[in-house]
Symmetry: C2
Amino acid sequence: MPHPVPAASAPLLEPAIELRRDEGRPLAVQLADALRRAAALGQLRGGDRLPSTRALARHLAVSRTVTAAAYEQLHAEGWIVGRHGSGTYVTTTPPGAPAAQPESAPGGGGGAPAGTIRLVPGSPWVSGIDRAAWRRAWRAAADRDPDEFRSPAGVEQYREAVVEHLLRHRGMAAGGPHPGTVLATGGTTAALAELAASALGPGATVAVEEPGYQRAVQTLLAAGVTVVPAPVDHAGIVVRDVPAGVRAVYCSPAHQYPLGGRLPAERRVALVERARAEGWLIVEDDYDGELRYDVAPLPVLASMAPDVVVHLGTTSKILTPTLGVGWLLGPERVVSRVLEHRERTSTGPAPAGQRVLVEYARNGDLGRHLRRLRRELSQRRGLVVSRLAESGVEVFGDEAGAHVVLPLPSAAAEQRVVARAAAHGIVLDGLRRHHHGPHRWTGIALGYASCSRGDLERSTALVARWCGEEVSGGGPASR
Amino acid sequence: MPHPVPAASAPLLEPAIELRRDEGRPLAVQLADALRRAAALGQLRGGDRLPSTRALARHLAVSRTVTAAAYEQLHAEGWIVGRHGSGTYVTTTPPGAPAAQPESAPGGGGGAPAGTIRLVPGSPWVSGIDRAAWRRAWRAAADRDPDEFRSPAGVEQYREAVVEHLLRHRGMAAGGPHPGTVLATGGTTAALAELAASALGPGATVAVEEPGYQRAVQTLLAAGVTVVPAPVDHAGIVVRDVPAGVRAVYCSPAHQYPLGGRLPAERRVALVERARAEGWLIVEDDYDGELRYDVAPLPVLASMAPDVVVHLGTTSKILTPTLGVGWLLGPERVVSRVLEHRERTSTGPAPAGQRVLVEYARNGDLGRHLRRLRRELSQRRGLVVSRLAESGVEVFGDEAGAHVVLPLPSAAAEQRVVARAAAHGIVLDGLRRHHHGPHRWTGIALGYASCSRGDLERSTALVARWCGEEVSGGGPASR
């Protein structure tokens, strides 16, 4: 008889859990298995709160001894953390699963933080958003009437705001984009899914940086696109190693995800030359290109080669995923394919979030937020880098963005650091997760934007120590 | 040398138009060809305003004689309408292209309306939305903070609002849905695209009603799914004629789109039995199931067979596409596949529109709007039906929804009525557009929700006369 597990506060999904008294295996073992499986499937994600042993026991009609024993086992394995009174949380983030919202802000001082601290990349600094400006934007958007029609290209003023944003913050020179070549999107992977369904098409082959953005890989695979690896090094994609015969290359030249390199000018030229010679499209994922702390950002690839580059941007990293808006900028033939696809299928981004962004940008709040964000993240990065340097760990990656990479000498070392962190309620993101094929680069991709500054300081001190032990050859035996 | 055509007010896209002085064909002929091609490709849509002959001539660096001659030719062919001072509009809606927003509200009395009146299905009655309630909802949503994370299932309160809506307006009995089985979506075709990329998968075969919703067909095709026809009659899908070997059947049992039948109980049972026996999923598109004017709506198929039915709903038809929100309700195995897909790819609907709908529903405004909408559309339907009856045209379709079907004796008759309407600035939607394969059902699918009541009365009188002439065998020769 199947029993769904009731998730505590906001059940994303109820994994179907079957416990059979006649199966021979103890119920606690069956339950632990089922929960492990749910985590591996992404049905339970790092940061999710589990029901209490009492509530789960009642729901499954088993004794509380069963649920307590299962939780104890999972706790010992590092899958869950928690303590009396503050709930039990899943620590792992299975490969490809998204960053989850922390269910509780971890509290006060002391060495061992209560609850979970997530140091994974991809979450923005929403606590820094000026709430008054946010409300102002929504209230201004309230005065616009509902439309009877969703324009396939997006809200006109939104597209103008994007052009302005690209001019100011991404070095798009005059003669650069105009609203006619800019489409609103639902974000980076939403745009990639549309490209896959239109300009690329099922059956195409696309090279993606390896390691790289696995949600892009999964988006392409789900669309029936064949994905091949394009190797990267510290400076970004290795152009000569991109396989021949692809239809497109997906890359992040401003700030390679996850390793953090900025593609140097000669590689940019080489990439564009190969694209032109071999008929590729270059999909430029500029997920956090606005965020650089040392020198001015390099111009985007799309301004160097507007004939072959499709540029994707998003507000999810610089503001919040709540609005669900991004942009696509590309050659007319690609833009028109995406538009045709939207018109044929009646899909495309909703105006609601675009309207709010228009208002947020109109009165300068977006610019102000970006300036504060750069200052905050630059300081956080300095904090993380110096803490790690004290432990003898030199990070990868340019002075940019919202994450750094902590190299570790082996996959085993990576796994150990992730497990030690999990046992302390710290969710880390090993580089294994960022590979589609074999695990070549080992280390931690540490995101520093979303937790509180205090939590960042405390948890980074621990992570630095664990990484330092691995780097100096100590490993967990010497702790 | 290629010259893009500048669209007048809101260029969705600039069709690349090449005029070559050395080509031998007159420039006016080349230009007319290019504009016809752009319309056929959906780059120009019915209702789009064209630039003035003067502006276009300047832009293309040709004489105004050239552009005027091209427009004259297209006008004679019925592709464009317009008169001095109020602009020139595209009349056609190519197959699969979306309903466009009218660029100008057609003005005062007289027989020949100025501008364009769109009587195509699919656009909602946004002019009936209470603007104060709309603003109230947005302002309430303004008070919610931005999230650092977009929940893959959707905003919790939104999913609760959907459950409530389904209980009240779609006959979902107690023991029906709960938020754990409801996902927020970006609308019907967005949800279908997600199903195609997850639970169905590229390479699957799906049967779609024929005639049916061509944007669903196009969505499936773009996802690499093979589409086969499932014939329909006046009562909806003909269950015994659904081809064997499909993975899913896409249908609209509450109000077949476009013919308007309501699937009778015995066919519902037969459909579910075949689905269970042959392992199909049934995708129930309930695009306007809330709108019935005679009897209470039949319960949705999903409450009869929650094990095999995926139910899709949307706010685009009952409210506005501005929010871009809908819902998916289905068996746990399907819901979890869609969630896994969202988590793997970081896609899914943005919270912004969901937040507004939560507030709009919370204080009863959604229910009030639905009651007013039913009253208004029921009256409009009565008006259209009686006007047509006076001309001897008996419509297809139940007393429901926002469109009726006017049967015509042949494809030629359908084409003639569409062309005559176009010449009067009335955009009609022939049933040809709703076929994926051969054109079997002939007539007009007339949408009565979006134009003004005055325009509806005036234009319906004309359409009724033209259809009456075709039905009585008169045809255009006798006019």
